[in-house]
């Protein structure tokens, strides 16, 4: 049973990353109509940012949790201003191709300087150790990742679904021209949205650094899984992305326990099944 709970926890942690990443993808897709293939590379940059902060300036985990998403978010906004904005009005596929190219560039540069092996990042002192829950031993850092991710996901949901800014955002998704007529600077909102989505990816990267080490290609495979998550959940609903992300992480964890050979493929198999039964995804509207 210990092993089952351990895998469940691993599943919840992976689910947190899936949720944070697919949430960012959904927010970006809503505003920019772009599937951000560079999301995995930016997730990796978040982790590297934390690593640099610690090893160059001696700035620890808690500041990295704030500074890394801001830094990577600004980098993302520069990308949006200099490149992505020129794709408005073109076929959606060009956005996918451009961001795929960006992912290759970013990953290639990091790989060139840091190779393919992992760099260690220590768990902060406050979150070291673990506690005995009676039925299992819970490492505190892992519990922290799950709880903190959930809080960030819900905060993002609240921001978009329940605040005035979020209302502008949703309105601009539906009809940007009309929203501009009300005097709202839609292009700036698009840039900020991209920054927000990218910042969420970077935050996931910082959270994963102490668990999975910091590797140039850490985002390469996870982004494909997150694409499958997005196909399963549909990108129509913010809450849908969050729930699907966590649920698929847990299912993957359970598969690792019951049938480890399929743990790499279970999300993709589920995607196939969902497509056969309900092609629009579990929460999605018809595209």
């Amino acid at each position: 049973m210990q092993a089952l709970y351990a895998q469940l926890l691993v599943g919840l942690i992976n689910g947190s990353f899936y949720a944070l990443l697919s949430l960012g993808l959904a927010v970006i897709f809503g505003m920019l109509n772009i599937i951000n293939f560079a999301h995995g590379a930016l997730y990796m940059m978040g982790a590297f940012c934390a690593y640099f902060l610690l090893n160059i300036w001696g700035i620890g985990y808690w500041w990295a949790l704030i500074l890394a998403p801001i830094a990577v978010g600004i980098f993302g906004m520069v990308l949006e201003r200099t490149m992505l904005q020129w794709l408005a009005g073109l076929d959606h596929l060009y956005g996918l191709l451009l961001t795929f190219g960006l992912a290759l560039i970013i990953q290639g540069i990091f790989q060139n300087y840091f190779g393919s092996s992992g760099l260690p990042y220590a768990i902060p002192d406050e979150l070291k150790g673990g506690m005995n829950l009676g039925f299992m031993f819970l490492p505190i850092y892992r519990g922290w990742v799950v709880v903190f991710s959930l809080v960030v996901c819900l905060a993002t949901w609240y921001l978009i679904e329940r605040t005035r800014l979020g209302a502008y955002l949703r309105a601009a998704t539906e009809n940007p021209t009309l929203v501009r007529a009300f005097g709202i600077n839609v292009p700036r909102m698009i840039t900020l949205t991209y920054g927000l989505g990218v910042g969420l990816a970077a935050l996931a990267g910082v959270l994963s650094a102490p668990i999975n080490q910091v590797r140039p290609l850490m985002g390469e495979n996870i982004i494909i899984v997150v694409f499958a998550v997005v196909v399963i959940g549909g990108m129509g609903s913010i809450m849908g992305s969050i729930i699907t992300g966590f649920a698929l992480g847990v299912i993957e964890g359970l598969t690792k326990y019951f049938y480890p050979e399929a743990s790499n493929t279970v999300v993709f198999v589920l995607m196939v099944l969902v497509l056969l039964v309900k092609p629009t995804g579990l929460t999605g509207r018809a595209a």
Partner: protein, 319 residues
């Protein structure tokens, strides 16, 4: 993707015929020029692969981000048939072709259920699924791949271990695949595909069962991509996981994008350019990835029509 493709008037067909004749003569003359035949053969396999991919994106408007799964399937199955079962090359290629067509049917039924951006994500996820299956399946030998594949005698007469014979067999295979695609896009089937690309709802309202057309295009494209993989086995004499990876799928997209999406000859030019850059930049390690990424970005931002597409636009011809 480009909406300025000209209708298939006699002049367009004539232009394309001339270009085809020029390409064929050039390919037949390659051995006289002293150009490294291994490079040209590799280029031809990738050119066929890119043409097969282009059939989907250029004419059906479907961006497959997982075409490496067909390349890998054709390669692995042919390699296994030839090496382990001792099948002659022609039978090995047929088995590889059948396997990739079968994979095309299965994955096609799933993938065509969504359009546009979702189609791209689904094909990418499906190819990752196939990648993990091949990583664990015993017959692919995991990380080692299938090595030292015998070339054998094609139809019992042509000795493929002779470079010249192999070269002309690969040229014949490429031209066959190219003509199949050329015929398909200039047939009523191709016209319906183009109408789906332009306006699927309208095509449906005109009574076309667009799902069947898309599935057929997907299977044809997958089978021909697998055919390219089967041919490649006899050139490089191995089949490995690198042919099934996401990076390979991206490379296929890049070749077609550089040459020109939806042009007849663009993918061929693009494939040779990308194979050449890989050859010449091999010493730069992971900078190659950076360069390829930069080509992607440059293509999307500055010349979306690709090399052949821009030229055709300039001279108002269809190529």
């Amino acid at each position: 993707m480009t909406d300025d493709t000209l209708p298939a008037t006699p002049r367009v067909i004539r232009d394309e015929m001339i270009a085809f004749a020029v390409m064929t003569v050039l390919l037949l003359l390659v051995p006289l020029t002293g150009l490294y035949p291994f490079f040209v053969m590799q280029g031809l396999c990738f050119a066929l692969l890119a043409c097969a991919f282009n059939l989907l994106i250029g004419y059906g408007g479907l961006l497959s981000f997982g075409h490496a799964m067909f390349l890998g399937t054709g390669g692995y199955v042919t390699a296994h048939a030839v090496k382990v079962w001792g099948a002659p090359p022609e039978l090995g290629i047929l088995i590889g072709l059948a396997a990739s067509a079968g994979l095309g049917i299965i994955t096609g039924i799933v993938a065509i259920r969504r359009q546009g951006i979702y189609f791209a994500m689904i094909t990418l996820a499906l190819s990752q699924l196939i990648y993990f299956i091949y990583l664990q399946a015993p017959f692919t030998h995991g990380e080692d791949g299938i090595q030292g594949i015998p070339q054998g005698r094609m139809l019992g007469i042509f000795d493929l271990s002779k470079p010249m014979v192999l070269y002309y067999v690969i040229v014949a295979g490429f031209l066959f695949g190219f003509l199949v695609i050329f015929r398909a896009i200039n047939s009523p089937f191709g016209e319906v595909l183009k109408s789906i690309r332009e306006n699927e709802q309208r095509a449906i309202s005109l009574g076309y069962k667009t799902d069947q057309y898309k599935l057929l295009a997907f299977i044809l494209s997958g089978a021909l991509a697998g055919f390219a993989g089967s041919l490649k086995v006899f050139v490089v004499q191995n089949a490995s996981l690198s042919d099934v990876e996401v990076g390979m799928s991206g490379l296929i997209v890049l070749m077609t994008l550089v040459g020109g999406l939806g042009t007849v000859f663009g993918p061929v030019i693009g494939a040779f350019i990308i194979v050449a850059t890989q050859q010449y930049l091999a010493g730069f390690g992971s900078w190659v990835t950076v360069i390829q990424g930069s080509i992607f970005v440059a293509c999307v931002l500055t010349f979306r029509r690709g090399i052949v597409g821009e030229m055709a636009h300039l001279f108002r011809r269809s190529l």
